[in-house]
């Protein structure tokens, strides 16, 4: 049987709802992936631990709280500490353009999808990069 792509969709940070994350999770499932969904208010430590146990290829972070410039580096650092930097971290949410650039340039995110991105684009990126 073919290898199945596994993705962890996480909603770190303190803001209240996870509608966006759920839409992404369902969309990736409909694109044929196994999506582990962990719910609201995840700490970076929880995200990384789940990513390791679930042996995912990709971690998708939905961030609306504005804390992206601390969350992405923290998660990357924890992945590295756990010998798991092969797991790709992608993100979505509203972020200033210069932040997106910095996150990608510094290698803290493999790709950032801004609110205009379609599910097809996200799924395609994952299929192309895993």
């Amino acid at each position: 049987m073919a290898r199945k792509i596994r993705v962890l969709v996480a909603k770190p940070g303190l803001d209240g709802h996870d509608r966006g994350a759920r839409v992404i999770a369902r969309g990736l499932r409909d694109a044929g992936m196994e999506v582990v969904y962990t719910g609201l208010h995840q700490t970076p430590e929880q995200v990384v631990e789940a990513a390791i146990q679930e042996d995912v290829d990709v971690v998708g972070l939905s961030i609306l709280s504005g804390a992206h410039m601390t969350l992405f580096p923290k998660i990357c650092e924890l992945l590295r500490e756990n010998d798991s930097e092969d797991i790709k971290v992608i993100g979505g949410g509203t972020m200033p353009e210069e932040d997106v650039k910095e996150l990608v340039e510094k290698g803290w995110a493999a790709q950032i999808f801004t609110p205009g991105a379609t599910l097809e684009q996200i799924a395609k990126w994952i299929y192309d990069n895993v």
Binding site: M1, K4, A31, V36, Y37, G39, Q46, Q53, D55
Partner: protein, 313 residues
């Protein structure tokens, strides 16, 4: 690649990768399982089944808390259905298990049912072996109680909990017979939401009419996971069942049955694969099909002829 020594020493990354190899039916998984096998046989497996939303994940979470209080290392395998259309799956059982997310004594793995018949049961049993070798003392296996694969998995567990809820349409008479029969313990969860009396009477009546294997009559425990009610009772009942299994000899008997079943399944799978290979690689089948279409031979005679050829290889 999997570093077996690291896995045996409790490396989470290795255990996680080993389970992926099994799920992906990687060719090297047999070798891996052979190497792990001598280090297995030390784990208590608890199956938890019931309708979607009955509270299986919440119960798993609560029972994990009980097990951790006794310093047991816990493994959790949570199975959710794979969409037959897309082949994808949404695995959301972790949402209810966040309390243990950072506890190094708890390893949680979500699995999709994926495609092939029997494949899920096979993968789950092998994932149990990985977590056993990894050092878990107790493994909870959560499945939605519907298909044959799920029933097979529950047969594999030492203790099976069937989770029901009052009111919500879980009427004892309409629940699939197979599911009621695999229960070692009945759990009526969400006891806060309705009258449990009728449900208990119905289960008791059903139990009165059935014969109890090894003399264990499945007890009924009421729980409210959201209020932490009934959980020490449920945990103690699991331990009572374990003790009963050990002292009555059921443990050994079950293990022999399981192993026999497992070997037989593997053998059947191997024969089937060989057979497919053989049939696709020689043209005999097509000649026979022609003869059958022409009414020169019947399907039974053709199958017998092919079987003879196959067995004489």
């Amino acid at each position: 690649m999997i570093d077996i020594d690291k896995l045996l020493a409790g490396d989470r990354r290795m255990a996680a990768r080993a389970i992926s190899m099994i799920e992906d039916e990687d060719e090297d998984r047999q070798k891996l399982l052979s190497e792990l096998f001598p280090h297995t046989g030390n784990v208590l497996t608890i199956g938890i089944t019931g309708s979607p939303g009955a509270g299986k994940s919440s119960l798993t979470d609560a029972l994990t808390r009980q097990a951790r209080q006794q310093d047991l290392k816990v493994g959790i395998i949570a199975v959710d259905p794979t969409s037959p259309i897309s082949g994808g799956a949404l695995l959301g059982d972790r949402i209810r298990m966040q309390e243990h997310a950072l506890d190094r004594g708890v390893f949680i793995r979500s699995m999709g049912t994926r495609g092939c018949l029997g494949g899920l049961a096979r993968a789950t049993k092998d994932a149990v072996k990985v977590l056993d070798a990894f050092g878990c003392n107790i493994i909870f296996i959560e499945t939605v109680g519907v298909g044959q694969s799920e029933l097979d998995i529950m047969h594999y567990a030492d203790t099976t909990l069937v989770v029901l809820t009052p009111g919500a349409g879980d009427h004892v008479q309409t629940i699939k017979a197979g599911i009621m029969e695999i229960a070692n313990i009945f759990v009526i969860n969400k006891a806060d939401l309705g009258n449990t009396g009728k449900m208990i009477t119905d289960i008791e009546q059903m139990l009165d009419m059935s014969s109890h294997h090894n003399g264990w009559r499945p007890p009924i425990i009421k729980t409210v996971t959201t209020e932490e009610k009934g959980l020490p009772e449920l945990w103690n009942m699991i331990l009572t069942h374990k003790e009963y299994n050990e002292t009555s000899g059921a443990q050994k008997e079950n293990e022999r049955k399981r192993v026999q079943q497992e070997v037989q399944e593997l053998l059947e799978e191997k024969i089937q694969n060989q057979l497919k290979l053989k049939l696709s690689s020689n043209g005999n089948m097509w000649k026979l099909v022609e003869s059958i279409v022409e009414r020169n031979m019947d399907p039974y005679a053709a199958a017998n002829k092919l079987l003879k050829e196959f067995l004489s290889i």
